[in-house]
Symmetry: C2
Subunit: 164 residues, 2 copies
């Protein structure tokens, strides 16, 4: 060791947390909840696995925070209501690219298929997708309309992503 490489540990908890969240979103949407290990997520984020425990408490909490941060339906509500279907289709077709490898809908579906992540996924789906959409739609049966649209998009997603 002629040259002493300075380890230079970047001590920035906020940035570390963000890197962990981003790596978790990519890993969970790529391989699902069970198959994405905390070691893998930490390695992708360039830090130690124990930091996940420190900052998020557990893998389940990491998944919940990553999923909640990834899901954002506001782009779908910036159009005329009659154009919602087209906006939704456009968005889902580009979702993975838009989010740099972290596809929220894919996270949701894969999470719903995992016993340990199902409950969290369904809660986030209701709170962050169906709820806001229903409120935006307004009127009678808005909740049912939002749920049906979500299901339709899920079937569309299956066709495009999971059953090629």
């Amino acid at each position: 060791m002629t040259i002493n490489e300075t380890p230079v540990r970047e001590r920035n908890s906020k940035r570390t947390k963000e890197k962990l969240l981003k790596a978790a979103q990519v890993a969970f949407s790529a391989r699902g909840y069970a198959q994405a290990s905390v070691r893998e997520v930490a390695a992708d984020a360039g830090c130690d696995p124990s930091l996940i425990k420190r900052y998020f408490g557990s893998k389940e909490n990491l998944y919940q925070e990553a999923l909640t941060a990834a899901v954002d339906v506001s782009p779908l509500m910036n159009v005329e209501k009659q154009m919602f279907g087209a906006a939704a289709a456009d968005y889902f077709l580009q979702s993975r690219d838009l989010n740099e490898g972290a596809d929220p809908l894919r996270m949701l579906i894969l999470g719903a298929a995992d016993p340990d992540a199902r409950e969290i996924s369904v809660k986030v789906l209701n709170d962050c997708v169906i709820g806001p959409l229903a409120e935006w739609f307004g009127g009678d049966f808005s909740q049912q309309l939002a749920a049906h649209i979500t299901i339709l998009c899920s079937g569309f997603f299956l066709y495009r992503n999971l059953l090629p």
Copy 2:
């Protein structure tokens, strides 16, 4: 131990294989591919885990045989073609009960959501569902029609089973 219980190992490879297949179908459709361990399947079948290796070679082969044996679209083709939609809806609503806890469509969807089981699931879906349905439909675009129907049923399944 006043009474000497005779161990009485039932030596019937065919029956053992069937019990393993049945237990595998129930476990895979309940918890998905990764979360259903071979030890669990063997315990449910009442035999030793190493018999899975003996009779099926690997967990993946067990999954493939269990899924192939579970999928059977022939009940959907015993009706007039115009009534196919209703027959499919009826069948999927009762699938789990009809198959005593082993739901083929659920196995397929959960399998498609698992990286290790995705390839097998998609192959079985094509060979045992879309293929036969397309042949039965006949005519132009029969393959596309069968695929779209399968996707529609998958979305319906998601609504009923995974996103409650």
